[in-house]
Amino acid sequence: MRVTGTSYTAALVEQMNSLTARQYRLQNQATTGQRIQAPEDDPAAMGQAMNLQAEISSVNQYAANISTLQDRSTAAFNVLQQLKTITDRIGEITTQAGDVTKSPDDLKNYATEVTQLTEQAVQLMNSKQGDQYLFAGTNSNQAPYTISKDANGNVTGVTYGGNSDVPESEIAEKTTLGVDVPGDNTSGTGARGVVKDDRYGADLFTHLISLQNHLLSGDTNAITTVDQPNLANDEDNVIFQVATNGAVQSRLEAESSIAQNRTGYLKQSISDVAGADMTTTLVQLSQTQNAYQAALQSTATILQLQQTLLNAIPSI
């Protein structure tokens, strides 16, 4: 092929452009660690990487949801533990009050303690996390329990203003979990109420009031035959709630761990799809830089030879 005057320079410009573009690309890959940056770089991989990023974002959100649920569940657990302490004490009182040797004054003293414990239980069941009541169902902006007392300070009734609905949150794709438990559930369906649930015969406050009244009236028989088994059932219900809460927390812990692992795998997948192989990239960058220098040097040599040709004219 006949080589002309502009062939060298045109080829040099073309090669330099090509090598500069390649250097720019490799440099970008080396500094960002990414093989692709824009859709044009590798459309299929870009789509895949975007999908994976969206998935990571979702998994992070599930992890955040799990964390929120864990906080709420822990707060409920603390309340349930304290409630369990109250039911423990109530159990002791019913046993001791059933003793026929107890005097009416002893029984009245027990009645006063039961009143106190009832008020304490109401207070516990009106616990809040942030500005939301824990045991009000979805009516969580108002205290679920209201206590009524007579002129003597005895509890005459406790009413429930919440509902039995439980909000659920997503902890994984299409998997929801509700950690809340309502104080009362008389609907016959859904989560078991902490204080009252007809399906399981639980009605703590009613049974506490009954105990208080029987203590005041000195009806030890009723205490032994009616209140003691009822309150034992209420205590079982509280124990069930504590156990359930523990199981839920274990599940949340497991889901949190799964989410964490998934994030790791997904990041690895993104790296596989879109990441640059640093060894190859750096070797290629070095090769390209060498080629760039070689192109410059070889062309400079040829141009020097042409200068020799021009210098030859005057000597002829």
């Binding site: 002309t4 692709i36 902006n141 002829i316």
Partner: protein
């Protein structure tokens, strides 16, 4: 016999021919960096032969012409390929611009940022994909904390960010579409100027070649104009008897001999998008190459597709979100409002009242139940559901596919430009090997003609000395 004076004339003619040789070499060397220039050669032949008693005797050399070294097949191939190059270059340029305007770039670091951030914070990334994920994540946050004003405010901000991103992408891509229309008009103006220049050069070449010979430099210039026109619009060329080039586009003649019989013109074919027709005959043209058609193809192809897809995404989002949201209740027990306003990517917006009071977000499924998250949860789960309107993809999947599809169009344009560049480089190298000026050849020619000039001078000096001898014989 020529005689001494005939010999003197032979020397003088030789001097003139060698001088012309140096002139042509000089012309070639002067144009060594002119890409439109085709090297020239001095055509010489022996001058008139005189019959003598000794037989036919030569009278030296004479120049008969200046030949331009060109390969017309390569010239026409390059002009034709330039329309392919123009087509793909303009598509590449338009789509690269669209890629920037769409603003969807992959940032691996964003994944790391998100993982340590709190819920709904994908807003840290700016692309629509990240905003879309963030939008549904924000609903998740509200579902997990339905009464939290902070979570609700984050949702409103995130939703506004998504709406803004869609608005901006739509507006930028629309502006780009308008710019491409301007580009079509500019290219049409350049093409009409090239048509006028070619007709003018046809005329100058005809005049220049009327008395014989070839108007080499004008032909160089015309070839350059033809290649410029080819880059703008693909055309058919035919050569007339007088050496003029006739141009027609899509079967309609535009240049006939020395006249421009018609020009190109843009017209609104409906929908505000410009197409091309002839100005005089108003014939719509179906172009298949050149930057004008490349720009139109990018505007009505990949660019329009991604704009339509963004509109479809936005309108589906508005419809689906509002369809669920309208049944929800805010923290005050109000219901019936919509979350998004607008109908497409350009107009989508967040209900203004939510900006100032996030408690009005209708996240609950029942009145007076601030802990109810039914609607928030349904909207959060909407992000995981496939939509018939989006080819049974989720919102994120559909958008990711749209971006990948757009990337394919640009990637294809990039490949086509690379192919064209490689092919064009080969064609130019081939043409250069035929028509280009070689420094070595021309320097050698200079030496050759210089030596021949010196030798011709010797002939004259010798004859002069012989004449001197002859004149001195008398004394």
């Amino acid at each position: 016999m020529l005689g001494l004076f005939g010999l003197l004339n032979m020397g003088a003619r030789s001097l003139q021919v060698q001088q012309s040789g140096v002139e042509i070499a000089g012309q070639n060397l002067s144009n060594i960096n002119n890409p439109a220039y085709a090297r020239q050669r001095l055509q010489v032949q022996t001058s008139l032969v005189i019959p003598t008693a000794l037989g036919p005797e030569g009278t030296g050399i004479q120049a008969v012409g200046i030949q331009q070294i060109r390969n017309s097949l390569l010239d026409s191939q390059i002009a034709s390929e330039s329309s392919v190059g123009g087509y793909w270059n303009s598509q590449q340029s338009a789509l690269e611009n669209a890629q920037i305007q769409l603003g969807e770039f992959f940032n691996q670091a964003a994944s790391s940022v998100d993982s340590s951030a709190t819920a709904g914070s994908a807003a840290l990334s700016q692309g629509i994909a990240a905003q879309l994920s963030g939008f549904f994540n924000s609903w998740q946050s509200v579902a997990a904390n339905p009464a939290s004003l902070t979570a609700r405010q984050a949702l409103v901000n995130q939703s506004q960010g998504l709406a803004d991103s869609l608005n901006q992408a739509s507006q930028r891509l629309s502006s780009l579409s308008d710019s491409l229309d301007s580009s079509v008009n500019t290219d049409i103006g350049s093409a009409n100027q090239a048509l006028s220049d070619i007709a003018d050069l046809n005329k100058q070449i005809a005049i220049g070649e009327m008395s014989g010979g070839t108007a080499n430099d004008l032909r160089d210039l015309r070839q350059q104009k033809l290649e410029q026109l080819g880059a703008l619009v693909n055309f058919d060329a035919s050569t007339g008897a007088d050496g003029s080039v006739n141009i027609s586009v899509n079967g309609t003649q535009l240049v006939s001999g020395q006249q421009v019989v018609d020009t190109l013109q843009s017209y609104n074919a409906g929908g505000g998008q410009l197409l091309v027709r002839t100005a005089t005959s108003a014939t719509p043209l179906t172009l298949t190459g050149g930057s004008i058609q490349g720009t139109i193809a990018a505007r009505d192809g990949a660019l329009k597709t991604i704009r339509d897809q963004l509109d479809s995404l936005a309108s589906t989002l508005v419809g689906q979100v509002n369809g669920i949201y309208v049944n929800g209740y805010d923290l005050h027990g109000n219901t019936g409002a919509t979350f998004f306003s607008g109908t497409d990517a350009a107009t989508i917006g967040v209900n203004n009242t939510l900006q100032t009071d996030p408690s009005l977000v209708q996240a609950g499924g029942a009145p007076a139940a601030t802990g109810d998250n039914t609607i928030a949860l349904s909207l959060a789960q909407l992000g995981e559901q496939s939509n018939a309107a989006l080819n049974n993809q989720t919102f994120s999947q559909a958008y990711d596919l749209d971006v990948a599809g757009f990337g394919n169009s640009l990637s294809n344009a990039n490949n086509q430009v690379s192919n064209y560049t490689a092919l064009n480089t080969m064609l130019l190298n081939q043409r250069d090997s035929v028509s280009g000026v070689s420094l070595e050849e021309e320097m050698t020619s200079l030496i050759t003609f210089q030596k021949a000039y010196q030798a011709s001078g010797k002939i004259i000096t010798t004859v002069d000395e012989m004449l001197q001898v002859l004149v001195n014989l008398k004394t």
